[in-house]
């Protein structure tokens, strides 16, 4: 159960998020969809507001003071994010992108094209989000290599029996740190170690993990990490790719345009230094300022506190769902809460997830329903869709109780 200290802290911090006061004033509001996108504390909104009111200019271009100020804000966010995930060289190893999806496309096109031939193998898992599947499939159409998949078992854990044989054939391993459907926390540090024994580079999807767990890229041992801001209290429209400097140096540019070049002639171009050679065009500057503020907020609360809170709430939810709904509910993913993050996908007997989410909405309970951009995973589970509740630092046991009450109501509506 949650320690009194942690619970106390959570109660206080919800008031930092304007949306809760705003919406709850008029209707019930239980936000259980942070795995899709999280809410924002006032410090994040203020940082963006302050930027637009006082500091806006284009970055890396003007020599005037305001342009330098904007550049400073943008580059500080880069360094902050680098430190947040334990990068060795924060100012060179973080590439800002639109989101984690773009970061994974950048790896596929930037690194994949350099590394892979028609003879190559790319190893992925069956639990990947479309963002870590389709970029590789697009590249496969261009280069004609083979994609293999690590399967998962009935508890939603990766089956690693053939890992070494698969790694022996592979050049790249793409794996999510945490499944957005099953909640599974994959043993990525171990996978990286084994992958490196076979000279395989590891591309990790950190979209779900990084917002909820202290992240150190050296401990994880991965070579590339895709991150998105809007699942960690920060704005939409910005994400990042972290990769070790020597890997970024090897990668080809993906998007061309201004800023990513050091010279352009009529017969060609010379790419800029890293990380700028991957950042074509004017970047999301205000969003970077917002992300910087979000990182500061998360550090103040403490990632360990957030992980512990997620886990105690997940544990409470698993118990409540099973006790109060019993055989009327099927929960997917690991039963052991130490092997999963704060994401619970489930199926209510004979009620389609879309209908579940609709009835829940009438109770003010916001959950995601659908295939969660993981259709191969859904096919493995043998379902077309699931409903998914996900937790973050501002959720509490009342949110879970409201969820279970609403689920009982949905069940009654479709079974009476």
């Amino acid at each position: 159960m949650a320690s009194v200290e942690v619970t106390d802290q959570i109660d206080k911090l919800r008031s930092d998020f304007p949306i809760f006061a705003d919406i709850r004033a008029s209707r019930p509001f239980y936000y259980l969809d942070s795995a899709a996108s999280s809410q924002h504390p006032a410090v994040v909104i203020d940082a963006m507001d302050r930027y637009y009111r006082h500091s806006h200019a284009n970055v890396h271009r003007g020599v005037y003071g305001l342009a330098e100020e904007a550049t400073g804000i943008y580059e500080n966010a880069r360094k902050h994010l680098g430190r947040f995930i334990g990068a060795n060289d924060p100012s060179h190893e973080i590439v800002f992108t639109k989101n984690a999806t773009e970061a994974l496309n950048l790896v596929a096109q930037g690194l994949g094209r350099v590394l892979l031939t028609s003879e190559s193998h790319v190893l992925l898992t069956e639990m990947e989000h479309h963002a870590n599947l389709v970029p590789w499939m697009i590249l496969q159409e261009q280069l004609g290599f083979t994609i293999e998949y690590l399967p998962f078992d009935a508890e939603g854990l990766l089956v690693l029996d053939d890992l070494d044989a698969m790694l022996e054939r592979a050049s790249i391993l793409g794996v999510t740190l945490m499944s957005n459907v099953l909640g599974t926390l994959n043993p990525v540090a171990m996978l990286s170690e084994r992958a490196h024994q076979h000279d395989v580079l590891v591309v990790a999807d950190g979209a779900q993990f990084v917002p909820h767990f202290a992240t150190d890229v050296s401990e994880l041992g991965v070579d590339c990490l895709a991150i998105t801001a809007h699942k960690m209290l920060a704005p939409t429209g910005i994400g990042a790719l972290w990769a070790r400097a020597e890997i970024l140096d090897r990668m080809q540019p993906f998007l061309g345009g201004g800023e990513m070049i050091s010279d352009v002639r009529l017969d060609g171009f010379t790419a800029n230094e890293i990380p700028h050679k991957f950042e074509a065009g004017t970047p999301p500057i205000a969003e970077a300022a917002g992300w910087d503020a979000a990182l500061g907020y998360l550090e103040k609360v403490g990632m360990a506190t957030i992980s512990a809170h997620d886990r105690s709430l997940t544990n409470y939810a698993m118990i409540q769902l099973q006790e109060r709904l019993d055989d009327r509910i099927t929960i997917f993913g690991p039963p052991d809460v130490t092997k999963r993050g704060g994401v619970i996908s489930f199926e209510l007997a004979d009620v389609h997830p879309h209908d579940v989410a609709q009835v829940l909405d009438q109770h003010g309970v916001c959950v995601r329903a659908g295939h969660h951009c993981a259709k191969p995973l859904m096919r493995q589970l043998g379902v077309g869709a699931t409903a998914r509740a996900s937790f973050y630092l501002y959720n509490d046991e009342q949110d879970v109780d409201a969820l279970v009450d609403a689920l009982l109501d949905a069940y009654r509506l479709f079974h009476d």
Binding site: H352, P353, H354, D355, V359, Q362, G370, H371, G384
Partner: protein, 151 residues
């Protein structure tokens, strides 16, 4: 909860729990068409048996939410035995009722006696996200019928 009761009317729940015309058709006059709603993963396959421009039989398989399943079931009843022209008129009336005909901004008053049980799906208008669930089988049927006419 009034809006919700409006969405989940008894007829809807009945057709969801006991869908009509389920199954597969085979034969040279059968036109099969798959439809997907990428948003929620709903899938439907329509088998329309068309002879002399008449939908003589229709069967449906697939998986989906109560709205898409009941819409498919109600549709199968509404179009079976009708000529393609009559089916097109029904589709048009149905779409106008739930305000998805392109030229229409607001849902239109549709003669409920003409539209019959399909009127049960009217409540979907208040839930814009669900309109796609309701129209999926209809759009899929239209493709199957275009295929039938093209041959």
């Amino acid at each position: 909860m009034n809006d919700l009761d409006d969405l989940y009317r008894e007829i809807i729940l009945d057709h969801y729990k006991n869908p009509r015309n389920q199954g597969v058709l085979e034969g040279p006059t059968v036109h099969a068409q798959e439809g997907f709603n990428p948003l929620c993963g709903d899938e439907v396959t329509i088998y329309a048996q068309v002879e002399d421009d008449v939908v003589v039989d229709i069967k449906i398989t697939g998986q989906g939410c109560s709205i898409s399943r009941s819409s498919a079931s109600l549709m199968s009843q509404a179009v079976k035995g009708k000529s393609i022209d009559e089916v097109k008129a029904t589709v048009s009336r149905f779409k106008r009722m739930i305000a998805v005909e392109e030229s229409e901004g607001e849902p239109e008053e549709v003669d409920l006696r003409v539209i019959g049980e399909l009127a049960a799906l009217q409540g979907v208008v208040k839930f814009p996200v669900r309109i796609k669930c309701a129209t999926l089988p209809w759009n899929t049927l239209m493709i199957a019928l275009e295929d039938a006419q093209a041959r």
